[in-house]
Symmetry: none
Amino acid sequence: MSSKKFHASQRRDMILTSLERDGLVTVPMIAKLCDTSEMTIRRDFDFLEELGLLARTHGAAILPDSPSAKKFDTIEPSLDRRAILNQRAKFAIATLALQQIEPNQTIALDVGSTVFALAERIKGLPIRVFSTSLPIARHLGQAGAKVYMPGGAVQGSEPSIVGAKAIEDLRRFHFDISFIGVSGLAEDGFYDYSIEETEIKSAMVLQSKRNIVLMDSSKFGRVSVARISEFSNINMLITEQTPPDPLLKSLKAAGVEILIASSVVTKMKKEFSNGF
Amino acid sequence: MSSKKFHASQRRDMILTSLERDGLVTVPMIAKLCDTSEMTIRRDFDFLEELGLLARTHGAAILPDSPSAKKFDTIEPSLDRRAILNQRAKFAIATLALQQIEPNQTIALDVGSTVFALAERIKGLPIRVFSTSLPIARHLGQAGAKVYMPGGAVQGSEPSIVGAKAIEDLRRFHFDISFIGVSGLAEDGFYDYSIEETEIKSAMVLQSKRNIVLMDSSKFGRVSVARISEFSNINMLITEQTPPDPLLKSLKAAGVEILIASSVVTKMKKEFSNGF
DNA sequence: TGAATATTGTTATATTATGTGAATTAATTG
DNA sequence: CAATTAATTCACATAATATAACAATATTCA
């Protein structure tokens, strides 16, 4: 038979794919599938756990925020179920986003599960963070990061600060980069389904030197209630699939740089060019 | 026969799923379902009970006590841990606190697990809430309550808003009641171990018509870093045990009303006098 | 190419999970 | 209230899985 040996990244992809499909993978399962030793698979599990892409248990690996993954310590509030669905894409997008940040910058983090994925990876970096999202602020605050929030009303299923007071507070800040989460992308701009949150996002965009939209491809072509911004205010879009042609053309015409994150999991051992 | 053995995490998921569906699961039920020994299921029950995801009785497991730990949702570890410890007392204290509130009031909620217990019981009531605590704001916001927060820096293991900006924001509000959590009670006042949080608490006290301190008896006689307030500004103390004599005398001399919550679980089916 | 480095495989040694039956505790009933 | 039954805990044996250390192999880069 064809003795198929895979590379580390291929194995890890297979692990994550199986995991997403079945919700649980065992060491012997994958070892046989990849025709490799169990030790290697265990090391892969370790690696992926380090990145937060799975949780290890005795004998198996499971999705990181399923209830039984919370052994003793880490009771993390999961944003919601749909966050783990595109987890890999979000992780890849967050990785690229991370590389846009430089030490000692002040960055703004908007609402959304993809932005949350970035927040998770930001922990411990020497930057200042401003966020309207309660889960993000809480997560980073607990990790000891420097986080600031605007005042205002709390709203939404991923609770965030909205309202006139929040916008007023926001106007007193200035950010090096804003990372914006959106729920739709059409030919005339980025959209979101909450009017209140849209107002905040728009205000955030105006206070930033650079604006980077993070979104996964499921949102291409979707028009929601309210427009956040025209393309001209957005400097970069990070996603994991090339947008379809009409959108791509509009984006490029407006000068939006587009980064496509590959969801292949690699070591990333090398230092980033940005000094982290 | 296809006798498939499940992994621990799968069994625990099945337990929780059955529990949610039926409200009650027995050991033999699950043991047969999982084709495993009863001992193993008992150990699973222990494990899940530890996390507050179920409650054990003789012969079965049922949904956990109404307060806290509902699902794998909103509660962060440090908070959760402490909350589970004196859960009974906190629940009782929160119950008394609830009776101090009247419809359509504006109340301020400070930081702390006892105050969190109150927040949990407040859900759905027709009041406006102001809070500096991120977990509380998130919890209530997600439940659809009207919540407002001050802007400022995020800090602490139960993250909350602190700093000059927060105090400035706070000064623009006025509350019917503030519920304050403290970490110490000595003869000259209430104490807390975070200087930043103390400043916020003090400011909160000044903006309220009535100030109610919530604390459990473990904090009697403990002096922490910084004083929040003298007794004279505090109208009421709700706890679950009578304070020792020197403290009691000081409190009474300053006109602080003292409510002792009985941690005996009563029916509480009757309407409260305050209209809820 | 060859040295340096990283990855993988193998073994022996912990650690953890599970199953069994006796001892203990809690509920039930006459 | 004792006697009975059911449920639980305890202690230990066994099996499954994880870890650590080292050897072997592959990969990278000068």
